[in-house]
Every structure is written in structure tokens, then in C-alpha cells.
Amino acid sequence: MPAHQRVIAAHAEALDADAEALTGCAARLHALAARLRSDAAAPPWLFDTLNAHITACVVASADLAEVATRLHVYADLLGDEEH
């Protein structure tokens, strides 16, 4: 595999994993919010903030998944050109 294609494919895989990690972050934030909702001491501003973080996580995860897809396509094109 040519060097460029290899590096780009590696980036794509890393970002794929990162997209999944962000999905995991969203799930953790969701679970945290659910846990704290039953706690009277949780500050009132917390839940709106956590919801905003969850939404941002989901969007960021989708952004990175899109990047990974485009990088995979790019890497494949470079590979086709080699052959």
C-alpha cells in the first residue's frame, strides 16, 4: 500500500473510532443526567447543560463519521490509481 494511502486510511480508521468514542460520551452523559435527575442536590442548570453536551456529542460524532467515510473513499481512490 503506498505511503499516502496508508496514512490516510490510518486517519480514517482513527476518526471512525473517535466517532464511536463520542457516541460513547453521549451515552455516558445521558446516563449521568439520568442518575443525577433523582438527586435533589443537583443544581437546576445542570440538565439543560448536559442536554446541550449530549446534542453536541451526537453532532460531533456524525461529523467525524462523515470525515472518516470521505477519507476512506479518498484512500480507496489512491489505491485504485496504484493498480
Binding site: 499516502h4 468514542a21 452523559l29 442536590a41 453536541a56 479518498y74
Partner: protein, 775 residues
Amino acid sequence: MTTDDPSDDIPPTGPSLADPETARTLRAAARELADIAGVMREVSVHATGALTAGAVPGALHRAPGAALRAEQALLHAVTNRKGLGYALAGGPAGTVGAKLGSVLGARSLAVSVMTTSLRLRIAAVTLDNPELAADPVLARLNEAVAADREIEAARALYALVKDRGAARALTAIAPVFGEILALRALLDENPLNDHTAWMIASGSAAATADPVSGVSNLAIALLDVGGGAARRVQADPPERRRLRETGSLLDFLTNIGVVGTTGRVLIQTVTGPDGVERHVVQAPGMRPGNPDNDSPGDLLGAFSSTLLDSAPYSRSLAKAVADYGIPEGAEIALVGHSAGGSAVMTLAQDPAFASRYTITHVVVVGSPVDFKRPATETTWVASVANQHDIIPSLDGQGAGNCFDLHPDWYVVDYTDPTHEFPACHAVEHYTANLAVDLPEAREHIDAKLRPYHGPATRSQLYRLYDDEPVPEVVRRGVAVAPAVTRAATASGPVELPVRCDDGYALTAYFVADAQAAAGLLGGRASAVRLGGRAVVAIHVSDNRRTSLGAYAEVGLAVLVAPPGGRGTPRPPSWRALLPRSPRADRVGSRFTDVLVNTELSRAVAEEVFGHAASLGTVRVEAGAGAARVEAVAGGEPVMSLAGTLGPGLPVAAPVAGRSLVVYSDRDGVPVRSSLQWRGTRRAHPSPRLRLAVARSEHPFARHLRDLGLDGARPILCLVAPARRSRRGAAVPLTLPAPPADPPADPPTDPSADPPTDPSASAAAPDASSDVSEGP
């Protein structure tokens, strides 16, 4: 709140009304959010790396459409306000991008989540300290900081200080001090403090910079150098009567109070209940006064003991222990307050010390030790901190700490009804709290210290020093007034010492290429190194009224070890750069180039002091907080140094005498002279001046270029706007005979003696003959 082995019962701690379980839940949530923020930051670093590494555009010509679509998606991902936010991070390009984002106020998702974590930490502390919520001014401050309303936060802080005074305002915010600083630093537009804020918020390391300005505490700590030294001293009779003759926690803390912040420590031997002799090192906190005196327990020592793995305070403690004669393998308990606590913990984490003795206990009160860990797992550690005491949080982790950094330590984190800072930091206050308010914590620690309960059979006080103290006879020699002499020069006779009754002086220190510096010195001296680099200085003076008439000069000097020194010279100490101490004779300057604007001053520089001097034009413009210096020779520019000086602080009392030791060669003979001066001086630790070297073939310009200083910024500037000075005749040096055998490398063992420094003998002949106390 106290923690110990998870299975242990947690004793109540004083009169706090907190619901520990609820506060614990919020801290756990804050910890999880910090962890999530860390994951997001890692993701941001990867995405930034993919964007900036060059691989994607590298093959652009081969698949331009796909490459551009990928680039576009990457750029969108790291700047999407609805997703990762402005998320450039990591690597050189990411770091620059992140700083730019900070300046523009653009945040990343990681920072937003970390901000939420900090706000939860504040909420948890507020549960422990209900007065934080009940106080309307404080609540206003908290809300403004958390909502990133900078002007409102400043107004709230101003109102707090106006309402309560500075000390009480500090007391009020003490429990959330670290969190408020970290929040401010994460959200403000200053890019220099973001890294420290992240370290505080993530609990990943000790805060190595001031979270407000971003000025590096680590750099300040690194200025605290010295091998450490300890000398036995006698307690005066009243002290002797007050020192306890038994061993217990309160006895040890009382002793620390008796010894006081005087630069001394106490070592005692106690005979335990089993008849075995054990030893207790008792270390007080910071010695007040000059931030850098000859004691390792000064302000610099407090920074270095907190941030470094080895510091003069801990090294001098090791020397005191060695001198005391504790047998190898004997059991030792280390007890410290404030900076003394940091120092004993630093000693406990030294593998060499820990392998020589059995460190059974470390007990610290009011000390920033969160990022320290004893070298031996069997060492039992107790840390006691009042939530209203700011000092324990100087490493970035205070009452709001949500990280379980030391699950195996016994941590007592409490509030008491008075909680006035700085009163609550006093060792007497801690002693009283442990005696009255925290009986269960005291009993728990005392139970662990039981082997040390018994009569004290020996007590010895030590005075600690940064380095081996200079003998009094040498010190006195510096103060002898010189005789007035006359010297002949090609431009006429001059009277020595050369006197300046009014002048402006600027010294800019740079780090430079060590090889180039060695080349400039030509084997005549050894350049002092700092982190593998040589330290050089540009000395500028505009001498308005002198015995040589008015003249201006600019000189390039390399900081050198004294002639006759051996081995690798030590890094320069803060005091060497601010040459005021008796140890000024150890590090000197060697001028490689001097440019002056009068023929007489050129002749004196060359013929009396042995410098390579040339005639030219020196323009010095000094304004409030800025300076501009230009040197021209033969009608061609040589160099300029210009810019703002940045924040400054006075370095000594205005009346204090100071001296600069200068080594040179005159007619092939090594000589030494000393410049002494008086006048207010300010140190500027983050100067924004820049040195520009002209494309001239003048040796001054060539040497600056060789040292790699074209475009460089100084690491430190010292400015004396109205200086009086005297410089006596240069005196030939009598160097000691070289040792018969090559000396061993300086021991790494902190308790071993340092190599004898021959500088005293090199300095002694002229020390009393050419310098004076000053005008």
C-alpha cells in the same frame, strides 16, 4: 471530609454541616465529566492531526475531488459550533490554532464539558460550605464566572474586596479558589493560562503556571537552585523550654510552631513504647521576607518544593538528617507544615533517601502535596487541610478536588467556624483545630504514630541553607572600602573606582547556543548552563553623571563559573542573576564585546578592565514599562533591543548593595573586577523585548548571530532606572593549584557533601581590595 483505606470508618471532621453523600455524588459526576472532556480533547487532537499533518493535501493532485471533500469535512468537524466546537488542539499547528481560538473566545466542546465539571465541583464545595451560597456577593461572583461574563465577574470581585477587604475576600472564596481560577482561565481570552487551567480541571498534574497570567511557576521554581546545606544551631533558652519532650502529633506540631518560620528545622529522637529509638523530622513552612534569601524555605523554595521532585529544601533536610547521625535503616517520621510539608513529601519520594532509611510516616498540614507520592509503598501518609486555607491548593487541587488521587492516604479536608485566611494557615491554628475540632482525626493519626509515642531523648535544631554558606571572613572581605587610585590610559589618567552617581541600567538575560558561547570564551572560562544552553546577558547603561563624564554603553557578557572552577558549572541561581547575595562571587560575567560612545570610557574598558571595547553610538530610550536600545558602529547599525518589559517586581530593598563580578584578561593575565551599585531594581520575568542583530560584520553583531540571538527574546530583564555604581580596579587572580586527581562527579545522593567549590580561593585575593559597600 476524610479518606483513608476505603474500608476505614470516616470520622466526622469538625462543625461542617455538609451532607457528605450528596457532595460526593456531585464530585463523582464532576470527575466523570472531566474524564469525558479528556476523551473529547483526545478526539480533537486526532482530528486536528488529520487536518494539519499534510497527508490529505499531499496526494491532492491524484484525487483532487476526494481530497478536497475530505479536507472540507475535516475543517467542518473541528470548527462546527454545534459539534466539537472550535476544537483545534495538539501539535504545533493545533497549539497555535487553540491559542488563536482562545484569543477569539471560541470554545471547544471539551472545554465546555470541563467547565461544567468545574461548576459541579463548586456546587459540591458549596454543599460543604453553605455560606458560599448564602453570601449574595459570592453567589454573584460564582454565577458570573461560570457564565463567562467577564465584566460582571470583575465587578463582583471588586464588590467582594470592597465589602470585606482583601484578606476576608480571599477567605470567602478560598474553598473554591482553584475552581474559580481554572474557570476564569478556561473561559478568558488569555491563551497562556489554558494549559494550567486544564491541568487543574482534569487533576492530571500540579499546576505549573499561574492560572491568571499564565506565568510559569515551574520556571520560577527552577530558579531555586542549590545543593542544600544544614548547620547545627542551638535553641535559645525560652525555645528550649517550649520544645516538647514527648512524642505525639500535637507535640510535633507544637514544636513546629516553636521553631517557627525561621529557616530552621528540628530533628528529635524518641524512644517508642517498644523501647526502640525512632526519629522525627519536623519542618516548618515558608520563611517570610525576601522571596529569595539564603534559606531554602523562602518563597522560591515553596514553589520548588511543591513542583519539583528534588529541591534545595528537601536536599538540605537530607543533609540535616545525615549530620544528625541517624543509622541506616532506622525508622523516621516526617512531619511538616505548609512548604515544610511539601519539602518532607519531596524527601519521602526520593528513592535514595527512602532506601537509606525506613520512612514509616509522613504527616503534613496545610501543604500542597497532591501530586507527590512516597517512594516506598509502606509509608503511611496523612494530609490535613482547612478548606479555607489557600496554600494547600497551590498545586491546583483544593477543597473541590473530585479526583481520588490518593486512595491510600488519610486525607482530612475540613472547615472550621473561623476560617480566616491567612490565620487559618498558621500551624498554631491547625494544632488547635486538631486538638479541639477534629478529635477523631487526631486520634486516628496518633494511633498510627503510636511507635513514636514516648520520651524525646535528643533534640537538635538545624539552620538550612540553599547551599554551603560563605564563611563570614569572606563575606566581611567584600565590605572593605577600596583605596582611591589613579590609572593611566591612552586617553588620559582616570581615578578608580569609576563612579557613577546617576544612570539607567538594563540587563537582559538570554539563553544561547552553548557551543557558540564556549567558542567565544576560547577556553578561558566555562559558561554556566541552563537546560543545556549557555546564559548570556546584554548589559545596557546610560551613565548620565560619572567620574568619566556622561557616556552610554552596551556590552555582551557570558555568565561563567569562576576561573579555577572544575566540572560542569551549576545552573545560575536566581541570586546569581540578581547578584546581591554573598554568593555573588561564585558566578561571574565575562564580557566578549563592549560598545561605548566616548573615547575615555573605551580606553578604560579596554586598558583598565580588559574588555574588547569599541567606539560607536549607543542610544538608550527608557519609558514606562518599555525600553529601546540601539548600537551603531562605523556608521552601521550593530544591534537593537526594543519592546515592552512586561510585569515587574522589585527585587530588593532600595538601599541594598549589589555587585556584579566580572572576569576578564588584561595583557594575558586573568583579572577580576566588581561593579557595585545601589538603586531600586525591578525584575521583569516575562519581557516582550526582542533583539535584532544587524547584518554588520562588526564583532559584536557577529557574536550575537553566532550565539543564535538574532530575533531572540530575553528570559529575564533587570532594570534600574536611577542607579549609582562604583567599579574598582581589576585585580589579578590567584588561582588554586589544580587537584592531583580528577574530582568525582557531583554526587547524585542528596545527603552527600557537594564538591568543594574553589571559587572562594579564587575570589579571596581581590574580594577585599577592589569593591566597596557602594556610595
